[in-house]
Amino acid sequence: MKKFLASVCTAVLCASLLSGCGSGSNNNDTQEGSGSGTVYVYNWGEYIDENVIDMFEEETGIKVVYSEFEQNEDMYPVIEAGAVQYDVVCPSDYMVQKMIQNDLLAELNYDNIPNITNIDSSYLKSAEDFDPGNQYCVPYCWGTVGILYNTTMVDEPIDSWGALFDEKYSGDILMIESVRDAFGIALTYLGYSLNSTDETEIDEATELLRSQYPLVQAYVVDQVRDKMIGGEAALGVIYSGEAIYTQRENPDLEYVVPKEGSNVWIDGWVIPKNCQNKENAEAWINLMCREDIALMNFEYITYSTPNKAARELIEEPDIKNSTVAFPSQEVLDRCRTYQYLGEELENLYIEKWNEVKFQ
């Protein structure tokens, strides 16, 4: 018993020591940051040409501390807890909206971001869906959700989400392992809004997805690339940014945004309210909007850029006029952005998604 007590005491002591250290070093960091020109950047993994970071440091003399996250949901609690203070972050549309609603973001000062004029006004307009007045967010990359299909494995051109629910392709379908995207597809196919808040509509979509389960080969996100390149399946749900890469590797693959419509998503730079270096963060955003930088990033990550000046600079005509990277207005007109639906509905969607997968 005595020993047990001793070890508990040690544990408590260590814990308090550790947390002491943690907060101590944090304070130091922020002090350093505010004084001597540092910017703390928090971005998706593999979502920038790393030379750009060096160029920013060289041009502005501001030191960059760069960290990465894997998905929006990983990033959110970090910013919300505020234990680590980032100056500039790159979430997706519905997450930006959630952060605005929960009062986590600081308003941008556009005087420090003159390069905003490079961003195509139509993207700024789409961004208003989740950020009215473009007060908080500057678009960085965008894309659509669509079907990647192997032309040698289907007998007709695919143009509808219906193919994903067609028994003909049983075992040849790779469905996306992401709640909002999966329900977005089902709701759109049924003719409803992909931001549906109506429980009967959501139930109907759940039924559709449940009936799809036996036809699905696997639920994947990143693996869809390699599996489609390897000819494992005829149809796969994929983000447009990955489509260009897969087509380079396997010319039999074709990307389509189905006629019923789809999701168009925008990732953009925002500044958290508790940031310590707001002007440095705005300098960062400004550089990201510069045409040569946006071009470098586009060529490296192949996700579509909202930067019209950068698009003009693209040399390869295939890419410049690619309907995958830059779909026509007619395609975009039938695409919608996700909106943050509130915690209760978010949980409902997850619950229904579990019902689909646990059969």
């Binding site: 001793a6 070890s7 508990v8 040690t10 544990a11 260590c14 814990a15 550790l18 998905q71 949901e73 990983d74 959110y76 609690p77 075992g171 392992e177 709640v179 389960y213 699905v216 080969q217 696997a218 639920y219 994947v220 599996k227 390897g230 000819g231 494992e232 949980n347 997850i350 579990n354 019902e355 997968k357 646990f358």
Partner: protein
């Protein structure tokens, strides 16, 4: 004379005291390690599992989540698959361990080395390799179709997950059994034969009971990681076969509800502890029997 004895006693006591202090000093890194990486995290899991996400008050709601039919199903599937793969591991490992015992030291240690060799590579990589082997246009099916044999479609099914578990955890079954088997004195077995026991009787009455501790620790070392895995089911199950580990992972990563994840982890821990308690009880009984 008596003074000398007293001095000697005193010296002895001092020496013992020093030894005790030294022991405590030597143990301190281990105690600190345990405290930081075992005890504190356990307390954190218990704390999160038993408190409400919103206001931090005490609640059993996170534990009750296990009664949700979806979660129950995942738990039941996890138990089923891990029991099956533990049994397969046992059936494969025992004969191998017996064979290893019968070989001379040099050869058996080489074979053990072969079994451990794959563990030099990361287990994630090896599981992804299995995915490439089992895939529809994977290595296995390419070979089969080249030989004009029917192809095999087990990727993204429970069978693939069981295969992954058996492959990854088989060495953890072989080694403890082998370690116990080589310690059995040959004279014991010879005595049994002398007294007229045939091969089967020797195995059932002598070798098996004596090797039970190894079998028990092997079962624990295979069953527990199989029950809690989420990576194998992710990679080889294509997210179509969802285990309780995946549900917990999702609570932490997607739903962002630590409390629910911790609550479900506590339930899973109860199952692990229960299985270990059951096994250790059986172990003791067996030891008792083997004495008589």
């Amino acid at each position: 004379m008596s003074r000398d004895k007293k001095v000697e006693k005193k010296l002895k006591e001092e020496l013992q005291g020093k030894k005790k202090r030294n022991n405590a000093l030597l143990a301190s890194p281990y105690i600190i390690w345990m405290a930081i990486f075992i005890i504190v995290p356990l307390f954190m899991i218990a704390y999160y599992g038993l408190t409400d996400k919103e206001n931090g008050s005490f609640t059993l709601a996170n534990i009750k989540l296990i009664l949700d039919p979806v979660n129950l199903k995942a738990l039941w599937l996890s138990i089923r698959l891990s029991v099956i793969s533990t049994l397969i591991c046992l059936l494969l490992a025992y004969p191998i361990a017996m064979i290893l015992r019968s070989l001379n030291m040099k050869r058996s240690s080489f074979i053990v080395f072969i079994f451990i060799l794959p563990m030099w590579m990361n287990f994630l990589l090896r599981t992804i390799a299995w995915q490439n082997i089992l895939e529809r246009n994977g290595i296995l099916n390419t070979i089969l179709s080249f030989l004009h044999l029917p192809t095999l479609n087990i990727i993204n099914t429970s069978a693939a997950i069981i295969l992954g578990m058996v492959y990854n955890y088989l060495p953890f079954m072989i080694l403890p059994i082998y370690n116990v088997l080589i310690k059995i004195d040959n004279n014991v077995i010879n005595a049994a034969r002398d007294l007229g026991a045939n091969g089967l009787q020797t195995l059932l009455k002598i070798t098996l009971p004596l090797s039970l501790p190894g079998v028990i620790s092997g079962i624990t070392m295979v069953f527990v990681p199989s029950l809690t895995t989420f990576v194998i089911s992710n990679i080889l199950g294509g997210n179509k076969v969802v285990l309780i580990g995946n549900v917990i992972e999702q609570q932490f990563k997607v739903v962002n509800n630590r409390n629910a994840g911790a609550g479900l982890s506590l339930v899973l821990m109860v199952f692990v502890l229960a299985s270990m308690a059951l096994l250790s009880k059986y172990d003791k009984e067996a030891e008792g029997k083997s004495i008589w």
